[in-house]
């Protein structure tokens, strides 16, 4: 039985006291690539912000590695934001060095070596001294993943890593996510509505629904797409599939 690394019980999340999702119950096991799925506006990114501790729940509990998510002290998980959120005044290398400088006693030359290796891991070898403004959107996301991996976390939260990327770049990113999970053993919680990514990398998922304000399906996305009798679930996978094919054809 795999260890539970993220657990939500009766979780209610929202903005300014207004609930967006209510009474959520789910758990993420160690080694999972776990997806939070749903259409636009269902509250996927809001839920993620609660899981990583940026927002306090309106109700219920969240436990990450057995404790409520906290932003105090050395981070125990890495986070990739939708835009990459690289620090614009720092080079890619400096972005990755930053957490190492503050949370480890590693000497500066080794920090830079480690940071350069993390950048190579995500396919950005040779771009160490580029500034975020000088690279593409896909490269920013890769650099964001490198920074999230700086402290060798066992858990990674990714907010729509494929959003706004062309299918080829998106596919490379999926390969990278799969590789991090399989080769480094990193548990990954990913927010997405890209069906290609979902079927390629995700092992378990929850599907959120706006009107229901909660989870309408849990399980293996391939199984759900094939066997679910819930019209809303079938519609999500059918529309996402059509949108994905359309985008692919357009490219």
């Amino acid at each position: 039985m795999s260890r539970v690394v993220v657990e939500a019980r009766g979780l209610t999340v929202g903005w300014s006291g207004e609930p967006l999702l209510e009474k959520l119950d789910f758990e993420v096991a160690s080694g999972d690539v776990f997806a939070i799925l749903g259409g636009s506006g269902t509250g996927k990114s809001t839920l993620l912000r609660h899981l990583i501790g940026l927002e306090a729940p309106l109700g219920g509990t969240i436990e990450v590695n057995g404790e409520p998510p906290s932003l105090v002290g050395r981070p125990r998980h890495g986070v990739l934001f939708q835009s990459g959120a690289l620090f614009g005044s720092m080079s890619l290398l400096e972005n990755v060095v930053l957490p190492l400088r503050h949370w480890t006693d590693v000497r500066e030359p080794e920090r830079r070596e480690i940071a350069a290796a993390k950048l190579r891991l995500v396919g950005l070898g040779g771009f160490e001294h580029y500034m975020p403004a000088e690279i593409s959107g896909g490269m920013k996301k890769r650099a964001g993943i490198a920074r999230a991996l700086a402290l060798d976390p066992e858990l990674l939260f990714l907010d729509e890593p494929s959003a706004g990327l062309d299918p080829v770049t998106s596919s490379h990113l999926d390969d990278l996510i799969l590789s991090l999970n399989q080769n480094l053993g990193v548990t990954i919680v990913i927010v997405t509505h890209e069906l290609h990514s979902i079927f390629q990398v995700v092992s378990r998922c929850i599907l959120l629904h706006r009107e229901r304000r909660g989870i309408i399906a849990t399980g293996d996305p391939r199984e759900l797409a094939r066997t679910s009798t819930d019209v809303r679930v079938r519609e999500f996978f059918r529309s996402a599939d059509a949108a994905g094919r359309h985008a692919g054809n357009a490219q």
Binding site: P75, L86, F87
Partner: protein, 388 residues
């Protein structure tokens, strides 16, 4: 419905007339018949008349689009909106006769059945509710300000306990931006302030044969009041606006959130070095401002009033005491902190996108200027009270 009316007019119009853009609307027996073309150009010329027809009618009304030859998206949108409005008014609003592309386009513009609840701004709030909402907003703002000061104090405390954690590199960058880069503008403005003050006072003092006291007036005014205040105002516009815009952009692009998820406090890594930079550069710039202000007065005194350089200098030196300089510099330190803290707070409070950044930047400058004037008044009162 009695009578028949048409919206097909030949009145002069600024739209380019195209026979293909003609829209004919007829009202008969509770049905609005639309025929011709419902293109953007047709809508621009004839839709106002259609609305007038509908407004002038009463009772149930359906919209018949069977005789439309062509339709564009904007036309379809207006038909759907009209139908919804009629439905809301209890007048039916059924759209009939739509086939082919007209049916498809109207279907496209049909509202989503699962539309979200109306936004707070769309709801008609009572006056009391609006006052309540704004009061909550003000209270929340004050509370956030207190939390911000608390977080900054904690960041200061941690830095004092562990000086090695102070973001030295960021501080040096901010020192350079707020200090040397601002010397020229501070020097120029304060020189001009000195000349204005000198000239205005010289005109009055000349009547009493007391031109030499221009040196006293300019020297004391600049050192005690105008040097620190003008420098702070310039820094509010220059560095304060820059801080708010920079931190606001970082906030909306999730960089601040990213910093927090790395376990790094934005107050320690973004705010503290900026405030510390201003606290150091403000008094240094004020010294330059004082010198340039006195120089401005000297230029008028010696150049226009015929006072000798030596006499002006002697008079200035005899009128300014060490306490005058020190009180001015104490104000400068406080003003630096005020500019830094308020600008950074406004920046980190940014919500929304580019518009939010603009709002924060404007709010930062306005709040800082207001706070500076209040603080200056308090300082002046306290210094007078304690005979400084």
């Amino acid at each position: 419905m009695a009578g028949e009316t048409t919206a097909h007019t030949t009145s002069p119009t600024t739209e380019r007339a195209d026979p293909g853009d003609e829209l004919v609307a007829e009202l008969a027996d509770g049905v609005l018949h639309l025929s011709g073309s419902l293109s953007l150009a047709g809508v621009a010329r004839h839709w106002k008349r259609v609305r007038e027809l509908v407004a002038g009618s009463s009772g149930p009304l359906a919209i018949d689009v069977a005789r439309l030859d062509s339709i564009q998206g904007s036309g379809a949108a207006l038909v759907v909106e009209l139908a919804l409005e009629l439905e809301r008014d209890g007048r039916g609003g059924e759209v009939r006769g739509a086939t082919g592309s007209v049916h498809a386009l109207l279907g496209l513009y049909a509202p989503d059945e699962a539309a979200p609840p109306p936004h707070a701004h769309e709801l008609h709030e009572s006056f009391l509710a609006q006052v309540g909402r704004r009061s909550i907003g003000v209270t929340t703002g004050v509370f956030e300000g207190i939390v911000f000061i608390g977080e900054l104090t904690r960041a200061c405390g941690r830095t004092i306990l562990r000086p090695a954690t102070f973001p030295l590199r960021e501080w040096v960058v901010q020192l350079s931006r707020t200090g040397p880069d601002g010397v020229a503008i501070v020097a120029l403005v304060n020189f001009l302030v000195g000349t204005i003050l000198g000239f205005q006072s010289a005109v009055q003092l000349e009547n009493y044969g007391a031109e030499i006291f221009v040196a006293n007036l300019v020297g004391l005014s600049v050192v005690r009041e105008l040097g620190p205040l003008m420098t702070a105002i310039l820094l509010a516009g220059r560095s304060g606006a820059a801080f708010a815009a920079e931190l606001g952009t970082m906030k909306v692009s999730e960089e601040v959130d990213a910093l927090r998820t790395l376990g790094l406090s934005p107050h320690r890594f973004l705010v503290l070095p900026r405030v510390a930079a201003l606290v150091v550069t403000m008094p240094l710039l004020t010294i330059i401002a004082n010198a340039m202000g006195i120089l401005g007065g000297l230029a008028i005194g010696c150049g226009a009033m015929g006072i000798t350089l030596n006499a002006y200098w002697q008079q200035t030196a005899s009128s300014i005491e060490t306490s005058d300089v020190l009180t001015g510099l104490a104000k400068a330190v406080a003003f630096g902190a005020i500019v830094g803290v308020i600008a950074c707070h406004r920046g980190l409070s940014t919500r929304g996108g580019a518009e939010g950044v603009g709002r924060s930047t404007t709010a930062a400058v306005v709040t800082v200027l207001f706070a500076l004037i209040i603080a200056d008044a308090i300082f002046t009162y306290l210094f007078t009270l304690f005979g400084l």
